[in-house]
């Protein structure tokens, strides 16, 4: 096909092949979990023995699972709200005002991404015991907040960077005071970023293990519960069932967060391009 234009637009077979292999290597191991969760055997091994949903039913009837789930949802909800509010404030300050050492501040906020969780976990554990604070869901939440902040800021920053401050001036010019301007212009324009940040940070808190491992008191979060169940071989299929559900829910949430987060951004780009 010589009329396909330059090599830039021509389909690249090896590259497509590579992409497929990449995705297979990345996700096939994960797919074993839901596969075995429907297997009618307590042993995780081939050949598969038959289809069953009994592990899911068992899960449903276990109070401890519900308790752990509720703990995780509580922590996740509070952490996502706090980290998003702090993220909004940080993103607005970074983009709106001439902050000295702006890039250094952003680097510091993003630092927890590259510092191993185990170090933060141990550090917080030491700090809490020094201060005499008993371990509880609150200490877990504190740990999660550190983990979630960079994600909140990273999600919100592009939103606020793309925000044209003349929109707020236009609103003031058209007769609205600061509060109404925030409510009618600023908030709606950045809402997709806020929703994306809430979903993403909730998912991260919900799935987080290392911080929870060091900082959990008597109430386990869901990942801690799974960890606890691994000691009992007969419970393993239920753990697989539970993991499958978490996997599914996380996937949906993150996908949704990404979709919402981009909403409107492309519109504005199209506006600028036209």
């Amino acid at each position: 096909m010589s009329d396909m234009g330059t090599y830039i637009k021509r389909p690249n077979r090896p590259l497509q092949f590579y992409a497929v292999i990449f995705l297979i290597v990345l996700y096939v191991p994960v797919l074993f979990i839901p596969m075995f969760s429907f297997n009618d055997s307590i042993y995780v091994r081939f050949p598969l023995e038959g289809f069953t949903v009994q592990w899911y039913i068992e899960l449903w009837q276990r109070d401890a699972v519900w308790q752990a789930l509720w703990n995780s949802v509580k922590v996740g909800a509070i952490v996502s709200i706090i980290s998003t509010v702090l993220g909004v404030v940080a993103a607005r300050a970074i983009t709106r005002y001439r902050v000295p050492g702006r890039s250094a501040i952003v680097t510091f906020i993003m630092m927890p991404l590259v510092i191993p969780g185990i170090i933060f976990g141990v550090a917080l554990l030491v700090l809490m015991s020094q201060l005499g604070v008993p371990l509880s869901l609150y200490t877990v939440g504190l740990g999660h907040l550190i983990v979630c902040m960079p994600f909140a800021v990273a999600t919100l920053l592009p939103r606020f960077e793309g925000f044209d401050s003349s929109l707020e001036e236009a609103s003031a010019d058209l007769g609205e005071n600061g509060w109404w301007t925030f409510w009618r212009v600023t908030f709606p324009v950045v809402t997709p970023g806020i929703v994306a940040s809430l979903l993403l940070t909730f998912t991260i808190s919900f799935d987080e293990f290392i911080m929870a491992f060091f900082l959990t008191g008597t109430d386990p979060t869901l990942p801690m519960y799974i960890w606890g169940q691994l000691r009992f071989p007969q419970e393993f299929p239920s753990v697989l069932a539970l993991s499958s559900l978490i996997l599914f829910a996380s996937f949906i949430l993150v996908f949704f967060a990404q979709y919402i987060g981009r909403m409107g951004l492309n519109d504005e780009k199209a506006m600028l391009d036209s």
């Binding site: 044209d164 001036e169 010019d173 058209l174 212009v185 324009v189 409107g264």
Partner: protein, 366 residues
């Protein structure tokens, strides 16, 4: 103009950003219903002055009166002025209708009345039926009109426009200039228009303030600025201009006279001569005020020179003519009446330049 019929009165306004002085003792009056332009290169303070009128910048000293009222303590959302932003600032999350109706919230109008007002505005900006479009579905020219409608629906006493045509391509810009001028006549609102495009300012304005370095150099009508610029800076900012060093020599004549490099001692309108004899002045002549001929013209003021260069511009040609006693060639602009008039002259040919004494401008020393 007396200050009594001034609708906007800017009095001794200064503005400092840190140690940088953006506005330097600006005073001017703008009449009601006037199309007034602030013209200057970027960084001359024109946008700062506009933003002061809107209330987005405070004055460091001095006062701006709007309709007789001092404005320094009035926040932007309480001023009877509206602005069309350079970026248009169309709200991306609202459709055209909601954008236009944005400022009407406080008036608490019945829905039907509000819709009627929006429809009227859509009619005015020639975009009927666009009400439900999203901002990203509009072209630059359409967004510019929405921004206009959004401001005009509030019936402001003054409309401020910050280079609203800057982002449009040439053809659309010229069309919008005509529409804007017609619209201003139709609604009768005072327009304060910021631009760096001198042609645009000349086309649109009743009066223009030429600004540079935070100062106002001259406030005048377009014709006044073009034909009687006061300083060399104004003269060279608007259109092309030939400058000559000269010395005042009245010689007792009824006409004034100046001894001018390259042109000899030439008569000038006497009312332009305010300086005593012997004072060095600058003389300016627009390129199109000269006529070129191959023979010495009868009667008219003339000087002989040599054609050094011709630039053909289609509708007109620019001739550069070297005259004895002046280093820079004199630029002469001629209209190309005949089809073969462009580029037919051979280089270095002797030619005669002639002009009328009325077209000579004496500039103030800066």
């Amino acid at each position: 103009m007396t200050s009594s019929d001034a609708f906007i009165s800017i009095q001794n306004v200064n503005k400092f950003f840190g140690s940088f002085q953006a506005i330097d003792d600006v005073s001017m009056d703008i009449a009601a219903g006037e199309f007034f332009s602030l013209l200057g290169a970027s960084g001359c303070g024109k946008t700062t002055l506009l933003r002061m009128l809107a209330g987005f910048e405070s004055t460091s000293s001095g006062e701006i009166y709007l309709d007789g009222q001092p404005t320094s303590n009035v926040p932007p959302h309480h001023r009877p002025v509206n602005m069309v932003f350079q970026s248009y600032a169309i709200f991306p999350h609202l459709n055209v209708r909601d954008n236009i109706a944005y400022g009407l919230r406080k008036q608490k109008l019945p829905r039907a009345q509000r819709d009627a007002m929006v429809d009227e505005m859509l009619e005015l900006i020639a975009l009927p039926g666009y009400g439900s479009r999203k901002a990203n579905e509009l072209s630059g020219g359409q967004r510019q009109r929405i921004a206009l409608a959004r401001a005009l629906i509030l019936k402001p006493k003054v409309l401020l426009l910050d280079e609203p045509l800057g982002a449009l391509d040439k053809q659309l810009r010229e069309q919008m200039q005509l529409e804007l001028r017609a619209l201003q006549r139709q609604v009768g609102i005072t327009f304060v228009f910021v631009t760096h495009d001198q042609e645009e300012a000349l086309t649109l304005s009743d009066r223009i303030a030429v600004m540079s370095g935070g100062r106002v150099l001259q406030v005048d009508t377009p014709a006044g600025l073009y034909e009687s610029p006061r300083t060399r800076q104004v003269a060279s900012f608007i259109g092309n201009m030939n400058f000559f060093d000269a010395i005042v020599r009245r010689n007792g004549a009824a006409m004034g006279a100046v001894e001018t490099e390259g042109l000899g001692t030439i008569p000038v309108p006497v009312e332009q001569l305010t300086k005593p004899d012997g004072t060095p002045v600058q003389v300016a002549l627009r390129p199109e005020k000269f006529a070129i001929s191959n023979e010495k013209p009868d009667g008219a003021l003339s000087v002989e020179g040599r054609l050094s260069n011709v630039a053909y511009l289609g509708e007109r040609s620019h001739h550069y003519i070297q005259v004895p006693g002046k280093e820079e060639p004199v630029a002469v602009s001629t209209t190309n009446f005949a089809r073969d008039s462009g580029g037919s002259e051979s280089g270095d040919a002797p030619v005669w330049l002639s002009w009328s004494p009325d077209s000579v401008v004496i500039l103030e020393q800066e």
